[in-house]
Amino acid sequence: MENIALAEPAAQLSIWALFMQAGWVVKLVMLGLLGASIWTWAIIVDKLVAYGRMKLTLNRFEQVFWSGQSLEELYRTLADRKTTGMSAIFVAAMREWKKSFEKGAKSPLGLQNRIDKAMDLALTREMERLEGRLGFLATIGSAAPFIGLFGTVVGIMTSFQAIAASKNTNLSVVAPGIAEALLATAIGLLAAIPAVIAYNKLSSDAGKLGVRMEGFADEFSAILSRQIDEKVAQRV
């Protein structure tokens, strides 16, 4: 590391030195922001992986569903598995359908309602799982700059107090304190920027997945309703 020619050699300007020079409030802010950043990236990575996987399963299910395979068979293969996404909705609807038919439901209208409710429930649960923790990203995105700014203000405040005490207004005396204080804002922005970007992207991705699942639910509901009508017509 090169020695800086400026001022006294004690005033080092490397990031680590800046952090160590800072007061405890600023240190706390910086550590908090660092933690937030870590958590943000954890969420981002997790969500990206989850959404990718979800997309994959949706694609595979749709392929299977529209392949002309019997619904009964499909249900039997999926029933005992842990299901996600569309398959979860499909399983929920089929379970309701089976329960009602096996016990000999009288009203096709009631059956239709119940199936819709079950699918809605499954859909909501899925969406909740998809969008969970995205709120944290939004919070970090909006709050981190302010937290960093708080650290900066406190840091500059203390450094100005120190300058006033030292009775020296030389720039080389003023600069390190301000640089150290600004580091807090830098970390805040470092956490906030990816958080905001990721939130926007992930929430839109989640929206797309949700729409896709909703579409499937509606479609399946229509299919089931047709089936119900057919069954009723057969009985009558």
């Binding site: 800086i4 990031i15 870590i38 990236w41 954890a42 990575v45 997790d46």
Partner: protein, 387 residues
């Protein structure tokens, strides 16, 4: 979730580690070492205002002062000691002591023999010698010296020039000296004074001779200056000079002769080989009065001026007054009304009040070095400016 968390932690650790090592301390700015230039604010007038030159010369592109009147001392002047002529011989210092020796020697009277032998003009010296020989004579001489000099201012030259003159005196003085001792000097003076004059006329040839002689004879060296006083001084100095002569032989004048006689002011600073350009007598720090000084003058005059009251036409009160000041700031003459005013009526009142104002304020305190600009002052008295 755990996978995401671990990747995030790893990512951050990598980033911070990278930052700590690569983003360490930013290199210091390369600030060029620029020497700070001291800047003085110099009023333009100091430069553009009058510089030394000739008042009547035409404007020239390059300012040049008037060539100095007195020839500057040449750098390697050889005018040593008390020489009035520029020679490289160091004669002068010895001149003084030796006449004294001569005066001392006369009693033994070796000198008379020497002088005639060396020089053809026997008259002056032979005659001169007797003076020391007659020891009685010297006493009256000093008395004469004091008095004759003031009396005969026109004659001093002949006296100094001619050593011979004293010679005639002694015999007379011997006679006269006795008288002189008893009588008041004026008589002796009159006698002495007449004769030298006559002889001076008679012996023009002899006069140059003694001057010339001393030069070749450094030993006896009676330089042009020396002979003048010596005849008179010899006796007077005899007593005092003996000790002095010994001292001088040892040190003072010899050393003095070796010293650089050039005056400190002998440098060529003012010397100019060019024709003088337009300028004042000397370079001044701005010849014109500054605005402040003019304002002060104006204010002072305004305070001294009592404006004639009750005149409705202000135009008649406008008066221009010119006056001359001497270097001390005092009025040199009565202020002169050069514009405005009238022979009667309010115009006259105004003119008189203006003149009075100048006279009342009279000693003006103005910067002496700008005298050129305020030696003559024209003041416009205008009541509308005063309010």
């Amino acid at each position: 979730m755990r996978a995401g968390f671990t990747t995030s932690v790893i990512m951050h650790a990598a980033l911070i580690g990278f930052g700590l090592f690569s983003l360490s301390a930013p290199s210091a700015f390369e600030v060029a070492d620029v020497e700070a230039l001291p800047v003085d604010i110099v009023p333009m007038e100091d430069i553009t205002q009058i510089q030394q030159g000739d008042k009547k010369a035409t404007m020239q592109e390059k300012a040049a002062p008037t060539p100095t009147q007195r020839p500057d001392i040449v750098a390697d002047a050889q005018k040593a000691g008390e020489n009035s002529v520029d020679t490289d011989k160091l004669i002068t210092p010895e001149a003084k002591p030796k006449p004294v020796q001569q005066s001392n020697t006369p009693p033994p009277s070796p000198t008379p023999t020497e002088k005639p032998a060396q020089e053809d003009a026997p008259k002056p010296k032979e005659e001169a010698k007797p003076t020391p020989a007659t020891e009685v004579a010297p006493k009256p001489q000093p008395k004469e010296e004091v008095k004759p000099d003031p009396v005969k201012e026109p004659d001093p030259k002949p006296q100094p020039v001619k050593e011979p003159e004293p010679a005639p005196k002694p015999p007379e003085q011997n006679t006269a000296s006795i008288e002189a001792l008893s009588k008041p000097d004026p008589v002796a003076e009159a006698i002495a004074s007449e004769k030298p004059v006559e002889e001076a006329v008679k012996l023009p040839d002899a006069a140059p001779a003694p001057q010339a002689k001393p030069r070749p004879q450094p030993a006896q060296a009676e330089t042009a200056k020396a002979p003048e006083r010596k005849d008179a001084d010899k006796p007077a100095k005899e007593a005092a000079s003996k000790p002095k002569s010994d001292e001088k032989e040892f040190n003072a004048d010899d050393i003095a002769a070796l010293l650089d006689k050039q005056k400190a002011s002998g440098g060529g600073a003012k010397r100019s080989s060019q024709q003088a350009s337009l300028g004042g007598e000397k370079t001044t720090s701005g010849n014109r009065l500054s605005q402040n000084e003019m304002d002060a003058l104006r204010q002072k005059l305004g305070g001294c001026w009592s404006i004639p009251a009750g005149v409705d036409d202000a135009e008649t009160l406008k008066v221009s007054v010119r006056f001359h000041l001497d270097r001390s700031g005092a009025l040199q003459d009565r202020p002169e009304v050069i514009k405005g005013g009238a022979s009667s009526g309010p115009g006259r009142t105004a003119a008189e009040s203006a003149v009075r104002a100048v006279q009342k304020c009279a000693p003006f305190n103005l910067p002496t070095d700008k005298y050129d600009s305020w030696s003559e002052v024209v003041v416009n008295f205008d009541p509308s400016d005063m309010f």
